[in-house]
């Protein structure tokens, strides 16, 4: 039996989040058992503007809305970063 020590996240940014991140998508490796909040902290660690934007974004884990406490699956996990909606 193999125990994964890390989990891979495939993060997709949309709209203003992509602009703040400077990329449409990134892959992040985190320790196994990390939560979405850990992912957000890692993404914004070296970028104040991105950290601010992430603070108002909604996250989808595998296409479903998920709270920041949600533990990431063993992976690879697909996470979408959605800024506040502004339709109409």
């Amino acid at each position: 039996m193999t125990i994964n020590e890390t989990t891979n996240c495939s993060v997709r940014f949309y709209a203003g989040a992509a602009e703040a991140a400077g990329a449409d998508a990134v892959t992040v490796e985190l320790p196994a058992g990390s939560s979405l909040a850990d992912l957000v902290n890692r993404l914004g660690a070296d970028d104040q503007r991105l950290a601010e934007v992430l603070g108002v974004c909604t996250l989808l884990l595998e296409g479903q809305a998920a709270s920041s406490h949600t533990v990431l699956p063993e992976g690879p996990a697909a996470v979408d970063v959605l800024p506040p909606f502004a339709g109409g």
Binding site: A15, V53, F85, A86, G87, G88
Partner: protein, 140 residues
């Protein structure tokens, strides 16, 4: 008489409110209410030149869901909702919501709630381009 969702879409094509409205009428409906959301030439005191709208891949499914929720309201016989994405200029129509209902109060109420739900739940974003050249993502 069944309630129909006549259209529910996120599209890059221009929207014509009159054409869309005419598709939603129903013989049991005494009121057809049409709302057009139009790109305005200013926002919070700044002159707007154009707006870039984009959407999440789930937007099509979500707009269909919002239309279906409206269709089951009391007195509603027809629903249409369309959101345009892409580069829109001042005066372009970004959103059209149409409800055909038995009575006007039912129609007005349904359109107000449908547009509110679009703003809350539809994963669409806008980047405003101002006439002085700077840009801004709404909500960020």
């Amino acid at each position: 008489m069944t309630t129909q969702v006549v259209f529910a879409e996120v599209t890059e094509s221009p929207l014509d409110a009159a054409t869309l409205s005419a598709q939603v009428g129903h013989e049991a409906a005494g009121a057809v209410i049409t709302f057009s959301g139009v790109v305005r030439n200013h926002d919070v005191g700044q002159a707007v030149d154009s707006i870039e709208y984009s959407s999440h891949p789930q937007a099509a499914a979500i707009i269909a869901q919002l239309a279906a929720e409206t269709a089951v309201r009391d007195g509603v016989h027809g629903v249409g909702i369309a959101h345009r994405v892409g580069h829109l200029r001042v005066g372009d129509v970004a959103l059209v919501a149409v409800v055909a209902a038995e009575h006007r109060s039912q129609g007005f109420g349904a359109v107000i709630d449908l547009v509110d739900e679009v703003k809350k739940r539809l994963p669409v974003w806008k980047k405003q381009h101002f006439t002085d050249g700077h840009t801004e993502w709404t909500g960020l």
